[in-house]
């Protein structure tokens, strides 16, 4: 038995959960409407943001994917382990002869798949919307990079949220930890970046200064959202924040391995 097979089974369970009635409209409004709005040929954006190709639209719209899809990952995974633990089902599952690390992988794949598949479906639709609006399609390479980055950021959030769910003794704590982490990375990271820049002696009155951009680029490596944008920016000619692709690659590997490893260790040692 593979983790993929069990993960697929878990994914079907999660994707049919009642909360998808909330997540689907959330994703649809943010992803499709953002693509529609941002691909308006008469759109006026701040001068620093250039939108003149399908990939540019996808890049700018990625902020809306972050807001909605990562929240979806949190909402799907927050009770991935804690609910089973509270109900006693985890006791039944842990008493089965499945290898615990394989079970952890299946949990991760199942929960990740349950948010990635809807997002992927809507991303394909958004590409079609962009095509209809500006008569331009992303190249296969661009589409691949966008898909990979989206898949990775959802994987990171799912890993973090499942880890939180395995720590929490009740559903309230689990959702509080998950939403807290989401808010830090999504809403408060710029504040942290500004504080770090200020403490480093970099003026924070000009957020476009070279020194601030350098610190901002570094801080983004420490955040899943920032790293997501780093990956997307690697294919943009008009965006250069001075971050080496090697650093971005290393951060990607660490973000992909570390939370997943911690989750696996946690499942290997968890008591019902």
């Amino acid at each position: 038995m593979s983790a993929f097979r069990l993960g697929w089974h878990i994914m079907k369970e999660r994707i049919s959960a009642g909360r998808m009635m909330v997540i689907w409209p959330l994703l649809t409004i943010f992803i499709l409407f953002a693509s529609w709005g941002l691909s308006d040929p008469n759109l006026n954006l701040p001068a620093s943001i250039v939108v003149d190709s399908a990939y540019d639209v996808m890049y700018v719209a990625s902020a809306f994917i972050l807001l909605s899809a990562t929240m979806g990952a949190v909402l799907i995974s927050f009770d991935g382990i804690s609910r089973d633990r509270l109900s006693g089902v985890l006791e039944v599952k842990l008493s089965q002869p499945i290898n615990r690390s394989m079970y952890a992988r299946a949990l991760l794949l199942g929960h990740w798949g349950a948010i990635w598949l809807p997002v992927m479906f809507l991303n394909v639709l958004s590409v079609l919307i962009i095509w209809h609006r500006i008569d331009d399609l992303p190249s296969i390479e661009e589409f691949f990079i966008h898909t990979l980055a989206t898949a990775l950021v959802l994987f990171w959030y799912t890993s973090i949220q499942l880890l939180a769910s395995s720590w929490a003794k009740d559903l309230g704590s689990s959702i509080a930890i998950g939403l807290g982490i989401w808010m830090i990375f999504t809403l408060l990271w710029l504040v942290f970046t500004t504080v770090i820049a200020g403490l480093s002696g970099v003026g924070v009155d000009d957020l476009n200064s070279a020194e601030f951009v350098r610190i901002d680029a570094f801080m983004d490596l420490l955040s899943p959202n920032g790293l997501y944008h780093h990956i997307l920016e690697m294919h943009l000619d008009n965006v250069d924040r001075g971050m080496s692709p090697w650093n971005v690659g290393l951060a990607t590997v660490i973000w992909s391995m570390l939370p997943a490893y911690l989750l696996t260790r946690r499942i290997e040692r968890i008591h019902p």
């Binding site: 069990l6 369970e13 006693g88 089965q96 290898n99 008591h271």
Partner: protein
């Protein structure tokens, strides 16, 4: 009698939070089980009895490989593949069907399983497509039993399995356990419904404060404790723990009943 599992000096202590201002994360060893020696025999129904907090559930979880403790003649993963475990009061819930839930468990055993036959055995045939959220507690108990039966286990470990079942289902349940035992399955069961338990079990293991006080057939234990033939499980518990049957109170599970031995052997 052929032995399915042997326990030799099995010990486990729960780590409990030790509230402290300066070290809020600190933990200390709490209650548990201590140096349990026990043989689980093929085709035998073994009843675990004892007051609340005696360590019955902890012992069952240890047998099922849920705790990383030593003292078994088989490693944890091998035990888990031979054991079907039914925990106490599992609250199955979710937007999936009974059959889907069973499929999840069957996948974790990686065996070809005739789920329909198991569903029929536990009397859930008419509920197999019903959502877990809509099940009554009795039906949830049956589902837990179905999970324990997946993969034809050699040992069945059941924690308070009769809770929530109606009298007819309890009778059917006991009949099923006897049939399985006759086929060679070793059954370990705990229940506070002592009348049913007395009629069902072949042997009794009496636990108190995590220690195994006495183990044997009902007749052996009566003889050992010098009880008359009329004496039941309550009298056995009272006799073994030193309580006067006329003065039984809810203090039975208090920590001052027996000297509490640490893993090192010294008394706490």
């Amino acid at each position: 009698m052929e032995t399915s599992l042997t326990l030799t000096g099995v010990s486990w202590r729960h780590m409990v939070r030790d509230f402290s201002t300066w070290k809020p994360w600190a933990k200390r060893a709490g209650a548990g089980i201590h140096s349990i020696d026990l043989e689980i025999n093929k085709g035998t129904i073994l009843g675990l009895i004892g007051p609340n907090g005696a360590g019955k559930t902890t012992l069952m979880r240890a047998i099922c490989g849920l705790y990383d403790c030593e003292g078994f003649d088989k490693p944890s993963e091998a035990r888990r593949s031979e054991i079907g475990y039914m925990p106490e009061q599992v609250r199955w819930e979710g937007n999936v069907s009974v059959k889907h839930a069973l499929q999840s468990i069957a996948m974790m055993r990686d065996e070809e399983v005739d789920l329909d036959a198991i569903i029929q055995t536990v009397g859930l045939s008419t509920k197999s497509e019903q959502l877990l959220d809509n099940l009554s507690q009795g039906m949830r108990q049956r589902l837990s039993l179905a999970c324990a039966l997946i993969g034809n286990p050699k040992i069945l470990v059941m924690d308070e399995p009769l809770n929530g079942l109606d009298p007819l289902a309890q009778r059917a349940f006991c009949n099923l356990l006897r049939t399985l035992a006759n086929k060679g399955v070793a059954v370990v069961i705990s229940s506070h419904q002592v009348a049913d338990l007395e009629a069902l079990v072949d042997r009794i293991a009496l636990l108190h404060h995590g220690q195994l006080l006495i183990e044997g057939t009902l007749g052996d234990i009566r003889k050992e404790l010098e009880l008359d033939e009329e004496s039941g499980i309550v009298e056995m518990i009272c006799s073994a723990t030193g309580i006067d049957p006329e003065e039984v109170s809810l203090q039975l599970s208090n920590d001052d009943m027996l000297p509490f031995k640490t893993l090192g052997g010294e008394e706490e």
